[in-house]
Symmetry: C2
Subunit: 222 residues, 2 copies
């Protein structure tokens, strides 16, 4: 590999890690703003999303430049294609953090109905999946990536539980339905962030093994 290509790939790795750090922080702050009814903190996430969008576009342009200039093959080519997809996934996670922040802004003005659901636990799980999926990319750790794929099932179950609790709660008289729908949305957005983390983990496996494991993680983890 030429020194130029090596340099370009190292730079690309730094950029995608910077983006993921920014996105992880957005998710963490958005869920904190929701849990603590902190509207100014939520508004900050919404305002800062433009920086995530800009970083995504820059990284994609960088990938194309490297493909065109250095025409990498084998593991380097797979790395760049994986970065292209992870980049996309991270930007969508940023959007989902914004969605949670928007719900947090609304809910900060209301008294939330009492639902026996532990959002904090779900948020911690999802944030760990996101962090682990990026660690799996950096450390080329297939085992860690598979653990992320498995954790997704648990998050899906939590979202299904929140759905059931909401449905029951909605049968009570005088419940604030609008509020409850917003809370259900937060659980759904967290579940979608977990899906994106799973996508990233699958790309990590692909990058290392050169095999696309999407749609067949179950075979791997049997």
């Amino acid at each position: 590999m030429s020194a130029h290509l090596q340099h370009a790939l190292n730079d690309l790795k730094k950029r995608i890690l910077n983006l993921s750090a920014r996105v992880e922080e957005a998710v963490q702050k958005a869920t904190e703003a929701f849990e603590t009814c902190n509207a100014p903190m939520a508004q900050e996430i919404i305002n800062c999303d433009v920086l995530i969008d800009m970083a995504e576009v820059e990284i994609e342009e960088e990938c194309l430049k490297i493909l065109a200039l250095h025409q990498p093959v084998a593991v380097d080519l797979r790395f760049i294609v994986a970065v292209l997809k992870i980049n996309n996934d991270l930007e969508r996670v940023g959007d989902l953090a914004v969605n949670i922040a928007e719900r947090a802004c609304f809910l900060a003005t209301r008294t939330m109905p009492d639902v026996p659901f532990d959002f904090g636990y779900m948020a911690t799980k999802v944030q760990k999946m996101l962090k682990d999926s990026m660690d799996a990319v950096v450390e080329m750790d297939v085992q860690k990536a598979l653990e992320v794929c498995l954790a997704d099932d648990e998050v899906d179950k939590m979202n299904a539980l929140m759905y059931d609790l909401s449905r029951q709660k909605l049968t009570e008289p005088d419940v604030d339905a609008g509020c409850l729908l917003h809370m259900l949305s937060v659980s759904r957005h967290l579940e979608r962030i977990a899906d994106q983390a799973t996508n990233i983990a699958e790309d990590a496996i692909y990058m290392v093994k050169g095999e696309i494991v999407r749609h067949k993680t179950e075979e791997y983890t049997r």
Copy 2:
């Protein structure tokens, strides 16, 4: 461009068009199954999703093969990167069609609450966006792609309307809250399909103009 590369690109175009035809059909049938309470039709969509998943993996492998073997540049390189992303988007649309079909299976067993919302109109809009976005890719038609981006706003408004109607309906006594939440999900899934069509349209613009218009479509359409 070598004859081999030309042949490989033509083949890739055919494959992505086959996939989009399959995905468009899944969306059309899923919404029809929902509207007509046709559980067997919905089950068929769920069963056939594995074919969409397989096609996605094959197309991605084909893109990588072309990148490694032919090291295309300029517009050919952009075409392949666009196909990689569109491929991903189409697979997600397939998943959303499955989500709608799952709701349709559930709802076919119940009497849906009466909500003054035209799902048929929304579904037609969304299907047109999906078709137009793929036409924009094939015809390299920037104008058509921009129209798709604009149409997304209207679909967002329809989803917001369904949300408001659900919130009001939930305050009525004896309403079937579970049913209503499933109906709200269908509107949300349709809205996400429109988002994916917008992503595809943005990739069409990028492919033609070599400029990433994501996050700045508004500048373009002013």
